[in-house]
Symmetry: C2
Subunit: 494 residues, 2 copies
């Protein structure tokens, strides 16, 4: 297959940009169909008279956008799940096209989702396939406080069953918001009140509401590079231009923040996916930047209940003198994602708009689990549960670190100071990470590179160091399982 590309050697845009844009257009127009196989990079480079690295970089950018899919070692393909912007007539209604293909039917309504609106995948990709899964951000179901929870549900149900039949407060159950105010005050240093808290269906819904409020097409959003894909894809789907800010072992390199961004999205407690904790100097720099640019900062504090080696750094929001930070928290990591309860602590300027947006979106959260959680927190059970998890997860992390040092001594560990996963940099002379993923899978072990683990790397450099890391979520595996997994992993990689 020869692609109809037209590359100008001395154009105002780089060769790589021209290739990227033209292929993207071919896909958008439907001239390259979903699932179509792309030419080999070597061939295309030779056709166009450019270096192969230029083509590789363009392909990688398109893979990152979700336009292409790499299925190594077979080749690169146009993504299957692309949502088309302007369906060909009849495509939106296949039945219609078949029945009345001679008819005078009008153009179908177009789907508005842009090309790159592909979904991330938070559910375990290998559930039921691998015995020992280092999938990231997953708590241990064996530690769920089942008996207490069951009692709390029953109690709420029998004391206030009429709540099942009413629409709840769109901002969230007041008792839960009050419990959250106490919790974030005591553990994260955030002074707020229940009027500033909005209960959401997980942090993901908080991000969606904020994107709806704050992102118009073309708005620049600063994100960590790599960042959490569940966030970056929501921003992109609302038309944001993503400006990647490089990340090192301490999180976002704040001196590289772009001046034009209207928003910055950060994970200061435990950078996703690389695991760094943003130091105080960078936090202050980030807030000063936001102040100067008139930007909001979205602080995603997804697993901040777990600091192991030192007192937890308080939330960025606790330093937020100018009310520019939206704090996003969740119970998915301490209780479970199946509850779908998260929350935001909002700047005063966004409260009313966010609550209105929540009403428009889905009226409110379901009542019962909010009520159980509010009681669990108010009665002290939640803090006790988190303390227990922290102790157990610290032991698992220590065990994993020791096992890695023993069995895979060339892997360098970072990001282990907090959270529920650590990051291992694999040596440059080892196999590529996607091959390791496959080999581990064959031995019943789930490990994940940045992209398989819902990290999005915007920098397309093929030899980028963050392409050589493995994410190891240890919270759901006990010590014997971790030992077993490491032994199998070592065999798989031998």
């Amino acid at each position: 297959m020869q692609l109809p590309l037209n590359i100008a050697a001395h154009g105002s845009e780089s060769l790589q940009q021209q290739i990227t844009q033209q292929i993207r257009s071919l896909i958008h127009d439907g001239r390259l169909a979903p699932g179509a196989r792309m030419p080999a990079t070597r061939e295309l480079a030779s056709d166009l008279g450019v270096s192969r690295n230029t083509v590789i970089a363009a392909f990688q950018r398109l893979v990152a956008e979700g336009c292409l899919e790499s299925r190594e070692p077979v080749g690169t393909f146009v993504a299957q799940r692309i949502i088309i912007d302007r369906p060909a007539p009849g495509l939106a209604h296949p039945a219609a096209a078949v029945r009345h293909d001679t008819g005078a039917h009008r153009p179908q309504p177009r789907l508005r989702l842009p090309q790159h609106w592909q979904a991330h995948h938070v559910a375990r990709p290998h559930a039921g396939q691998v015995a020992l899964d280092f999938w990231v951000g997953r708590p241990d179901a064996r530690l769920f406080p089942l008996r207490t929870w069951s009692m709390l549900l029953t109690r709420a149900l029998h004391s206030q069953a009429h709540q099942l039949c009413e629409y709840g407060d769109p901002q969230g159950l007041l008792a839960l918001r009050e419990a959250i105010v106490s919790h974030v005050g005591a553990t994260r240093g955030i002074a707020t009140d229940a009027g500033r808290v909005l209960i959401t269906n997980g942090i993901q819904e908080g991000l969606s509401l904020l994107a709806q409020l704050l992102i118009a097409p073309g708005v620049e959003v600063a994100v960590e590079d790599p960042c959490y894909m569940g966030a970056s894809r929501v921003f992109a789907a609302h038309g944001a231009v993503l400006a990647g800010v490089p990340v090192d072992e301490q999180g976002m390199r704040t001196q590289a923040l772009p001046r034009r961004a209207a928003l910055a999205y950060v994970t200061p407690s435990h950078q996703y996916p690389l695991g760094g904790t943003l130091p105080l100097t960078r936090r202050r720099a980030l807030l000063a930047w936001a102040r100067e640019c008139g930007a909001y900062v979205l602080e995603d504090d997804y697993d901040s209940d777990f600091f192991y080696d030192r007192a937890p750094l308080l939330a960025l929001k606790s330093l937020d003198e100018h009310d520019q930070v939206v704090y996003l928290g969740t119970f998915s990591k301490t209780l479970g994602a199946g509850l779908r309860i998260g929350y935001m602590v909002l700047p005063r300027s966004l409260c009313q708009a966010a609550v209105n947006a929540k009403v428009m979106l889905n009226n409110s959260q379901s009542w019962l689990e909010q009520a159980a959680l509010a009681a669990f927190m108010a009665e002290g059970g939640y803090e006790q549960h988190v303390r227990r998890l922290r102790r157990l997860y610290a032991a698992r992390r220590d065990h994993l670190r020791t096992a890695l040092a023993q069995w895979l001594p060339h892997w360098q560990v970072q990001g282990a100071g907090s959270g529920m996963h650590l990051v291992a940099s694999v040596p440059a002379d080892a196999a590529p990470v996607h091959e390791m993923e496959r080999a581990a899978h064959a031995q019943g072990v789930g490990i994940y590179g940045v992209e398989r683990g819902n990290g999005q790397l915007l920098d397309v450099a093929p030899e980028h160091p963050w392409r050589r890391i493995v994410l190891l979520g240890y919270a759901s595996l006990d010590e014997p399982q971790i030992s077993d997994a490491l032994l199998r992993l070592r065999q798989a990689l031998a």
Copy 2:
């Protein structure tokens, strides 16, 4: 206050349009502040040299859009809750403005919500204030199958607790989708499969997802006039141009459907708010229109489990040969809105896009109540519960009709054939409906005109017949309560 309006007597736009647009601009620009009192219509009409009715009609349009609020008898005001499109510097961050008012700070990010993105209110406005509330669409909490539900929750929790700790299927729990397929097949005549069903946080979330997929700014959406405000406001917030199609006692007058619309939103089983059931001829006309225009039809079947006097008309979706109808259902009316479980049956062309949008939005629904509901349906308890409700609600409806005929014989009843509310047209010489609402409230009875009851009337004619109707939701009141309410109502209106 004199408004800076500039009205041309012979312009291309009507006087009313000019007034509406110019006032809207003054509000958008912030020249008319939230909460500001508008001049009296008589005064303004005299200033502008136009008839008072023209000014009244312009004000009513702006009230319908959410730009103005009528607080009779005090006057008309700029809406308090308006969300401004372009905040004045410092407004988005009040703290910043105060602290650094000399500073070189940049423009704040703008909020994207348009002016008219005001929230509807599904929670009872007078909860705790009126003893006898005819609030619409509210089931009787005393009839909730509490013991069974509690047992089902406990069973699900103890047999599959690990589901609490995982992200669920974004499309919804398979067992629930399968139960829904059986339910809509048996009761609504819809032939589908679990792959076409998406579980949502109520119908409202389904509408939001569809608006996100299908509505770009300027897209024309045909809605019933009056229609359900929770729908029309979501469409408007996504930039839709609403084309109102008049409604009579049989629902939407389909011969008035506009040719340019890309979508039609309808409530065929029990028109919201007027209560008509769309006859088969109009259903066929609607589908033929959709076929010719290449439009999708959104069928909101919010209370279709309750047909009383004849076999239920099957869903519009059951006639959908060309796969153009999205069917939206809910458990809010048969179990309770506090569960937040609804669903869509999607055309094949929208399935993948809708599931992707759900992932982006909030990953998935919470697990536990989905599991309990799936079991309740699979084991036959749900159908039994609905049959019981249908019998009891029919008796309440009959009782209300009889009581109305006896105590308020001049009120004409319509829309009583199905659903959970009926509609009474009050005589033209009676007090205005908003005064009746207040008088009833003073006697401990909640009754609702079209707009207080979340109906949106797009036609601004001040003497429109649908401004003289009262919505009476009877499902949550038993017969003695209905008698008591009618006696009080009669006293209030005497």
